[in-house]
């Protein structure tokens, strides 16, 4: 018989992981994130199994966890194949587009958000400007403005764009 408070600690971690997976599975809308949350629930159960295995001094829990690893592999193969097929039909991973499959007496879910909304503007790296203007430093004595000076001048006088 092992250490009971130690077992309690591992079971608590397993319970928290399982609950987090449940919350994520119920509230997220991306098919893949939902599936990841199901895997998180499996992880919570695995921690519990290994905790009991150590507590009882028996291989049973670890053997169970090995089987659940194999099951997770099989599950991932089938579920990802399904996700790829679903994605081919709708070109999106949104679970809401499959709400035709809901129960007959349930009202449909209506989206309230702006479909064009994106997470944030992409941030491009900014390099320090230095050196001469391209193509201008090659002729000696011709034009030795730096890029900063050239840009500053261009602000004042509009550049003539050559027609092709």
């Amino acid at each position: 018989m092992g250490n009971l408070p130690l077992l309690n600690n591992y079971l608590s971690v397993g319970a928290i992981l399982f609950t987090l997976g449940l919350i994520g599975f119920l509230s997220r809308r991306n098919l893949i994130v939902m599936f990841l949350c199901a895997e998180l629930m499996l992880q919570g159960v695995s921690v519990t199994f290994v905790g009991f295995s150590t507590f009882h001094g028996s291989w049973g829990g670890q053997v169970f966890t090995i089987f659940s690893l194999a099951l997770a592999g099989a599950e991932a193969a089938v579920a990802l194949a399904l996700i790829v097929v679903l994605f081919r039909r709708n070109e999106t991973l949104d679970i809401s587009l499959w709400q035709d499959l809901r129960e007959a007496d349930q009202p449909p879910v209506v989206d309230e958000f702006d479909a064009a909304e994106v997470d944030s503007e992409p941030v491009y790296p900014e390099l320090t400007r230095s050196g001469l203007l391209p193509g201008q430093g090659r002729v000696p004595g011709h034009d030795h403005r730096t890029i900063d000076e050239a840009i500053e001048e261009q602000r004042h006088e509009p550049v003539e764009v050559p027609h092709a």
């Binding site: 994130v33 290994v50 295995s53 049973g60 099989a74 991973l93 997470d119």
Partner: protein
């Protein structure tokens, strides 16, 4: 102390954590939502600290205790960040961190093979397949439907109820088991854990299932797997084969093309 009073002590922790996760769940990108996420993060951290203080100093070795706290903390925090991050790729990476810290927890409990298998199979193969499908389907990061969760309040309420039930019961069962048999309260809903003699008796009929600390680890695990559970191993092998064939057939809609080629 009754069962209900004891489990009340864990209610505050669970409620705080649930509220934190509720605020952290994606709800758009404007500035008030960012503030909500910040507040949610603070609340979830407080809940985590309360939870850790509830564990108390119980582990036999001090070093192991510290390692347990670090690994369990990393595991739970990455779990929260996984279910709340906007970008599915980031979610998958946080899940990989959950797996790494979980395999550390297995290692701490002397399950070396399982620890290695988790990293190799889960983090090495399954997560990579996930990332592959995410890159294939959604290469631009967060989509609009990733920024809005569905019914976050209801799902967090369900989560709080589940977590309170589990943790409260665990808390109570731990104090219940710690008492000698005569002092345990009568009429409890709990069934006592089997006594040492009962476990030893049931393990005696399956001698390969007993963990001996001085025997080689993988050797005895393999013996258990292939002597005690050989039918299950065969069934799981069959299941994997069926799953692979099924996955191939699901993705290729026209099986005639497969055979023609």
């Amino acid at each position: 102390m009754g069962e209900f009073e004891l489990s009340l002590s864990s209610l505050i922790t669970v409620l705080l954590g649930g509220l934190g996760v509720y605020l952290l769940l994606p709800r758009g990108t404007n500035s008030t939502d960012r503030v909500a996420r910040l507040v949610g993060g603070v609340l979830a951290t407080i809940a985590l600290v309360l939870m850790a203080s509830r564990f108390g100093s119980v582990l036999p070795v001090k070093t192991n205790e510290v390692i347990f706290y670090v690994l369990a903390g990393v595991s739970v925090v990455s779990g929260v960040l996984m279910i709340t991050s906007h970008n599915p790729i980031i979610s998958a990476l946080w899940f990989a961190l959950v797996l790494l810290s979980n395999s550390g927890l297995y290692l701490l409990q002397g399950a070396e093979f399982l620890s290695a298998a988790t990293i190799i199979i889960y983090a090495g193969a399954i997560i990579v397949t996930f990332l592959f499908v995410i890159m294939l389907a959604q290469p631009n990061g967060a989509a609009p439907y990733d920024l809005h969760s569905r019914e976050p309040l209801l799902s967090c309420t369900a989560g709080v109820i589940l977590a309170w039930t589990l943790l409260g019961t665990l808390n109570y069962a731990c104090t219940y088991e710690a008492k000698p048999l005569a002092e345990r309260p009568k009429g409890s809903l709990l069934v006592a854990l089997p006594s040492q003699a009962t476990v030893a008796k049931s393990l005696a009929t399956h001698p390969e299932s007993i963990i001996h600390a001085n025997k080689p680890h993988v050797d005895s695990l393999g013996r258990t797997l292939f002597l005690e559970h050989y039918v299950a191993v065969e069934v799981v092998g069959m299941l994997l084969l069926v799953a692979v064939v099924g996955a191939v057939l699901i993705v290729n809609r026209d099986p005639a093309k497969l055979t023609a080629a």
